[in-house]
Symmetry: C2
Subunit: 182 residues, 2 copies
């Protein structure tokens, strides 16, 4: 941030009075511009023993597989956002189930929130941001070709809970990877 979005004045990086952190402050109007982590919301869309994944048509991770998920929008709930992303990315209509994972990803300033979901029909189709959408049984999951570690973690937890016969709600912190992983 270089210019104040409110008045166009020059931005200064400084600790405002009464604060403990450096913020973007306007040198003209004095407004403090806070920045916060962003929620990413998605689903684990299930049909019998299969899970629906999408192959990304956008960066980052073009060509890699993901659960349908994306940035939460203003005016919606986490559940509404998760359903919207499932429709947009996979053309899939779901009955939303309970919260399943809440995964902190502090190094990319995000919190990833996934809900269990049941596909209502098989009339799914890749959206504009997906190359493909298809169902995978557990042995078919392309573990080495998944786009994000939050997706891999959520799928691992899903199949573990499926075997255990009981679905929990799981929280984890995803630490920075040494490779180019996200």
């Amino acid at each position: 941030m270089r210019f104040c979005p409110l008045c166009g004045g020059p931005i200064e990086r400084r600790i405002p009075a009464g604060d403990t952190r450096t913020r973007d402050c306007c040198g003209r109007c004095g407004h403090v511009h806070y920045v916060n982590p962003r929620p990413v919301v998605g689903t684990i869309p299930v049909w019998r023993d299969q899970v629906l994944l999408c192959r990304r048509a956008i960066e980052p991770r073009y060509g890699k597989w993901t659960l349908p998920a994306g940035f939460m929008e203003i005016g919606e709930s986490t559940a509404q956002g998760a359903q919207r992303e499932t429709l947009e990315e996979a053309g899939a209509r779901v009955r939303l189930g309970p919260l399943f994972t809440m995964l902190d990803v502090p190094h990319v300033e995000q919190v990833h929130i996934f809900f269990l979901a049941e596909l209502l029909d098989l009339n799914f189709a890749p959206g504009a941001e997906s190359l493909e959408a298809r169902l995978f049984r557990e042995p078919e999951i392309p573990w080495e070709e998944l786009a994000f570690r939050t997706v891999a973690t959520t799928l691992q937890l899903y199949f573990a809970d499926l075997r255990a016969g009981r679905f929990g709600i799981h929280t984890r912190e995803i630490l920075p990877a040494t490779s180019g992983e996200r």
Copy 2:
């Protein structure tokens, strides 16, 4: 937003190519400025049969009681943010427990996330944003003087689970109130 934070150019409200929503777009450099809901993180700090509340020294809801909570900061996890807010607002050190509530508040563009927590000692003290910090048994909770409905909901669920002898993880959507409530 009236000016582009990157180049200082004039902001236009329009739907970018390939998008479905109106965004703040720069008329000069073309950058699209996305806005997303913000996570608020906090704790239910417990000592035996008592819960620690803070009386707010800031707006909104000056003088009303709240669980320690605040906006999640860049670079931290939800759990770290909840512990930090508990220290900042109530001067309280806690052993953090599991996630307890995740409450959507779409009309104020927030998601409120509360963790169970055990006070490590009784050396708490109100921080700069609090007038008082004190312990309440269930019959003493100032239900009519609570700052936010997410706090009331979280406390109701806490005491219900305490009576049931089993703590779950609860998700709810908080709808707009007709009064001045938040």
